[in-house]
């Protein structure tokens, strides 16, 4: 019975104690997860799914962006000049076009360049070469202009049709392409918006799923939490241990999503590349690994930690 008097210890708030408490909150978090291993695994899996969605949303976004800019680069308005127009006049028109807003590229092709290019392309076709020798150089000088918006193309055609140099133009090749350009811009914009909307909706659903899984695992521990509070365990200690739980769930979620992504790319990467021309997922992941890891860490930890803290707060009011 002398024991009661001997039960004294020093609790100094020095770094050792802080470190000890930190270590113990981590231990409590890990033990709680072990005791709720079923829900822990579901939460990890849910976070992994969110991260995989996020990764592939970035892959698709990047692919759509590159396809869209590639297609846009191939669309252009061409102005063909009449025979004998001097190069200074053509350069004036070129500089005027370059000053227009939304114009991304203006390229000049002289009659000689056009002929060279044609010869290069068809030099192995003796029939065409013979015909060319008959007629000389039939190719007019031209300027090709491209823009990154429908409004940009409107401005180009307005500029050309209103230009004092219009008398030197043989033809403006825009009329036939206008509906195509408008359709193309509409489709790419819609695809981008729809992709973003789907990604946002999927992420919200996944966030709700993760939050509810973590919430139910913590709800299952509400008696333990209230007992600990009643016998003198501080709110901060429990708060920290549940924040650590979220952190651990996030960490495991990152690892699982990494493994699943690698497995998917390994199994289907080549097939995807051959079906969707130019979509090299493995290459994208390799080139953007640091960025993706940062996104994963941010998403996983925010999801895990914030869900845990939100879910535990109500049970700490004891």
């Amino acid at each position: 019975m002398v024991l009661l008097l001997e039960m004294k210890w020093e609790v100094n708030l020095d770094y050792n104690i802080m470190f000890t408490i930190l270590k113990r909150t981590l231990k409590l978090a890990w033990n709680n997860l072990k005791h709720n291993s079923g829900l822990f695994l579901v939460a990890v899996f849910a976070i992994a799914i969110v991260l995989i969605f996020t990764t592939f949303a970035f892959v698709i976004q990047d692919f759509a962006q590159s396809v869209s800019s590639e297609i846009k680069q191939k669309v252009s308005v061409s102005v063909y000049f009449k025979d004998g127009v001097d190069e200074d006049t053509i350069m004036d028109v070129k500089s005027g076009l370059e000053e227009l807003p939304d114009v991304v590229d203006v390229s000049y092709t002289s009659t000689e360049d056009a002929l060279d290019s044609f010869i290069q392309r068809y030099k192995n076709d003796p029939l065409l070469m013979a015909a060319l020798a008959e007629v000389g150089n039939p190719f007019p000088a031209s300027i090709s202009v491209s823009s990154d918006s429908v409004e940009g193309y409107d401005a180009i055609v307005y500029f050309l049709e209103d230009s004092p140099s219009q008398v030197f133009f043989e033809k403006i090749d825009y009329g036939q392409r206008k509906p195509i350009i408008e359709d193309l811009f509409y489709i790419t914009d819609t695809v981008k918006k729809a992709g973003l909307l789907i990604a946002v909706i999927m992420s919200l659903i996944a966030i709700l799923v993760v939050f509810n899984i973590i919430k139910s695992s913590i709800r299952g521990m509400r008696d333990e939490i209230s007992i600990m509070r009643l016998v003198g365990v501080s709110r901060n200690f429990l708060f920290a241990s549940f924040a650590f739980q979220g952190l651990i769930i996030g960490l495991f979620g990152i690892a699982l999503s990494f493994l699943i992504t690698i497995a998917l790319v390994f199994l289907f990467g080549e097939d995807v590349k051959s079906i969707v021309f130019g979509l090299d997922v493995a290459n994208y992941l390799e080139e953007n690994s640091v960025f993706l890891l940062q996104v994963h860490v941010f998403v996983a930890f925010m999801l895990g930690v914030i869900s845990s803290i939100l879910a535990v707060t109500r049970y700490l009011k004891v």
Binding site: L4, R24, R229, G232, R235, V318
Partner: protein, 231 residues
């Protein structure tokens, strides 16, 4: 040490339930080192008295002081500092089913930042005190009611409390162990720790010859030194 200053606890009317007045303007002063029995019929407010003391409930009116501190001024974030000075023994034990006997005692010390070597020294001593040294690695489900309550007593002592609040500690215990638990509380009191024991066990009250506070209909109807069980 403990002072209930004109404390009322009233649960407001809710749906079909009428307003429930648990306490009405009670005064109660308990000095350091006392052993006080709180008696009364079921529903007289014995448990509520303890819940008010540990800050689990707030009084509707009046103030409660513990060691000159007004408990109403201590928020959720700091209430654990008061609870650590009170060892609480619940009728339903409130042990953590996922932790063994040793862990049920050690986790509070862990949360306090007590060094491992002190935990390793103190927990076996506490288990020895309550006679459970051989059950250290058993889980609560593997213990009898009396053993569970002794674990709860060991846990209540872990922070070296100034006061022990024992709420019907023998309520779910085999009569064979009842006096064991009471004797343990008496020994704790002999060492200078204040003990508040809520019970409606007539034999316990009559055998102890201690201060008896009787609650009935929201008021203290008797407060006698060496009192007997009279409802």
């Amino acid at each position: 040490m403990i002072f209930f200053d004109k404390v009322s606890k009233i649960y407001p009317a809710h749906l079909n339930k009428k307003e429930n007045i648990v306490f009405k303007d009670i005064f109660l002063r308990i000095e350091k080192g006392e052993f006080v029995l709180i008696t009364g019929k079921s529903g007289a407010g014995k448990t509520t008295l303890f819940r008010l003391l540990i800050g689990e409930e707030k009084p509707t009116k009046g103030k409660i002081y513990f060691e000159d501190k007004d408990l109403s001024k201590i928020g959720h974030g700091k209430i654990h500092t008061i609870r650590r000075k009170m060892g609480i023994i619940f009728q339903d034990y409130k042990l953590l089913s996922t932790k063994n006997v040793y862990e049920n005692i050690s986790y509070i010390m862990e949360a306090l930042g007590v060094p491992d070597k002190d935990i390793e020294r103190n927990v076996p001593e506490l288990l020895e005190l309550v006679g459970l040294e051989s059950r250290a690695y058993h889980y609560p489900d593997e213990l009898s009611g009396g053993e569970k309550q002794r674990v709860a007593i060991a846990r209540a002592l872990v922070c070296n409390p100034d006061v022990i609040l024992a709420d019907e500690p023998t309520g779910n215990v085999d009569p064979y162990y009842t006096m064991d638990i009471i004797n343990l509380l008496l020994k704790i009191n002999e060492k200078g720790t204040t003990v508040l024991l809520a019970t409606h066990d007539k034999d316990i009250v009559n055998s102890l010859d201690k201060r008896v506070v009787t609650l009935s209909d929201g008021v203290i109807v008797r407060d006698e030194m060496g009192g007997k069980f009279r409802l």
